[in-house]
Symmetry: C2
Subunit: 330 residues, 2 copies
């Protein structure tokens, strides 16, 4: 394993410290935690529902890279592929509550759900109005190593973007939670790996694939998928993922949003070629795409691979996806 | 070699097509070329000097990812690691000339310099006011495989940002070229590879490094560097690069700008850890950092590695680096 790190146990604190130092006009760290909070000039006088997300590290720019005006109010980082602790989540909640309450956006992993729930109880005991929504956009497999139900993956960033935009527009906590749930229900993702991620403390890839093999349906923590196959041209990969995802949408009228997401070690060049194939096939199928985005958004350390997220999107959501934000990663 | 592509010969046109389709509110393609031009609403009525850059593909988001209000007017993509042709560059020049002239930003590779020069002559024959500047920020080696003099690498994006901001503010062509040259002279970069890039048509990495080896001073086309060493902790890597670069600045007072750049397959996690070490060491040395940025800006396909760029920056330049832009990649 060759990685640009110091000691394995210092990875997360050093990463957060680097991120905050390099972007101090946008974000600051809550002392003694790995929670990152907005630090822009608008934040202090802001009157909006706070939006907090977080999860294990190794998925950068998710989540700290989405902290900023129009997206998240705060993000909490756990150790690599490990949930953040309830007390750290609770500190983030307190830091962003302006009296209008806080919405938690949680990816569906047992550890995350449990720890965010505990933080929520701590906040409730403190009379903070608080709700949570759980993202489970990965339709590849029903249950998984760390999950009951479907996993939360790249679609999370679209949920954070729409919820963040609505919060900035002044939506109240109940409506925001309902909107977030509706967005989650309309968002479906499938990913492919060409090469598994190497967790630093482990030192070797999470699973092995042959020189000409890929795996469909992998998760963002090296969870296995639904099928190992010979690698295909990008067009065929796009076709397989589109077929699988669009099967989840009985009504294919109206607008859709598309996210092509790199898993960490896949260059933008390949992501754009894949995007070309995806957008061509959707156009040929008369699927209307109102928003599309390509890039490394929800990664899995140095995994080589890609995921496709498709959302059936109200026109309002398309508008909210396009709203400018001031974040590191969007 | 496992890559998400179709036919090798279609890589660049398909990549450009995907990039443009996914970002049609920002950019459009000039028919029959791989040149990408601004497509935002402000561009048509704009009165500013046009800024055109380009070069071989494989360095995404450079250059097409920096086309947009406040940065490049157009970018021209060659084949992988190959200069764009003069006629394509010429089409881009014509598309962005509003009568105030066009500045070309060229990376210092023999093929690029020659082809941009030919395009410049074509434009001059057409009575378009035109100047060019050549970026040679890589201080690792004096001459290289494809270069007379120093190579142009990640510092290019900072040059494009400052020149683009100044052009938007209405600076004339002569002053813009002089500013660009001054910025280039103040910008120094050194890169490290942990693993070389695989050019798709070649099918294997450009050079081999041992399981515990890194190479200092590599270029963005698999050009060899100045030394192969055992891998060190991030702190030591940061120290080596800072020492080498800061030796180029006899006057270390005033402000500096810092760019930590991922080479394509190195996760943001490692880039932030490295950034933390760089910013800590500069702070300990009382070097004032007025601007810093971390991410994949000027990549080399799937190379694993990182580069550090440091610029001695006027206060005006820091301001221009911080100006918001509407691009895919900044």
């Amino acid at each position: 394993m060759k990685k640009i790190i110091n000691k394995t146990e210092d990875i997360v604190p050093e990463m957060i410290s680097g991120l905050v130092k390099a972007n101090s006009d946008l974000v600051k760290q809550i002392d003694g935690t790995t929670a990152v909070v907005r630090n822009d000039s608008k934040f202090a006088e802001e009157k909006q529902v706070g939006v907090v997300s977080g999860g294990g590290s190794g998925h950068e720019p998710l989540h700290a890279g989405y902290v900023g005006d129009g997206m998240l109010s705060a993000a909490v980082a756990g150790e690599v592929f490990t949930s953040p602790t309830p007390d750290q989540i609770y500190e983030a909640i307190k830091a962003v509550d302006h009296g209008l309450g806080v919405l938690l956006i949680v990816k569906n992993y047992s550890g995350d759900v449990m720890n965010f729930d505990m933080a929520k109880e701590m906040a409730e005991a403190d009379d903070i109005k608080i709700k949570s929504i759980v993202v489970d956009d990965d339709i590849s497999v029903e249950n998984s190593e760390f999950t009951q139900g479907k996993r939360g993956v790249a679609g999370t960033v679209l949920v954070e973007k729409i919820v963040g935009a609505a919060a900035r527009l002044g939506m109240n906590l109940d409506d925001l939670a309902a909107l977030g749930q509706k967005v989650i229900d309309s968002t479906k993702t499938v990913g492919i790996a060409l090469h598994a991620a190497t967790v630093p403390a482990v030192g070797h890839p999470g699973f092995e694939l042959g020189d000409d093999e890929i795996e469909y349906g992998i998760g963002i923590h090296n969870e296995r998928g639904y099928s190992v196959e010979k690698i295909q041209p990008s067009k065929e990969l796009a076709h397989e993922l589109i077929k699988k995802i669009m099967g989840e949408f009985p009504d294919q009228t109206g607008n859709f949003a598309v996210l092509i997401n790199g898993m960490g070690a896949t260059p933008l060049m390949e992501q754009y070629i894949f995007a070309n194939d995806v957008l061509n096939e959707l156009a040929a199928d008369n699927i209307s795409v109102g928003f599309s985005k390509v890039g490394n958004q929800v990664t899995s350390l140095d995994m080589q691979g890609i995921s496709l997220t498709i959302m059936k999107a109200d026109d309002d959501w398309i508008k909210m996806l396009k709203e400018p934000v001031a974040t590191i990663g969007w």
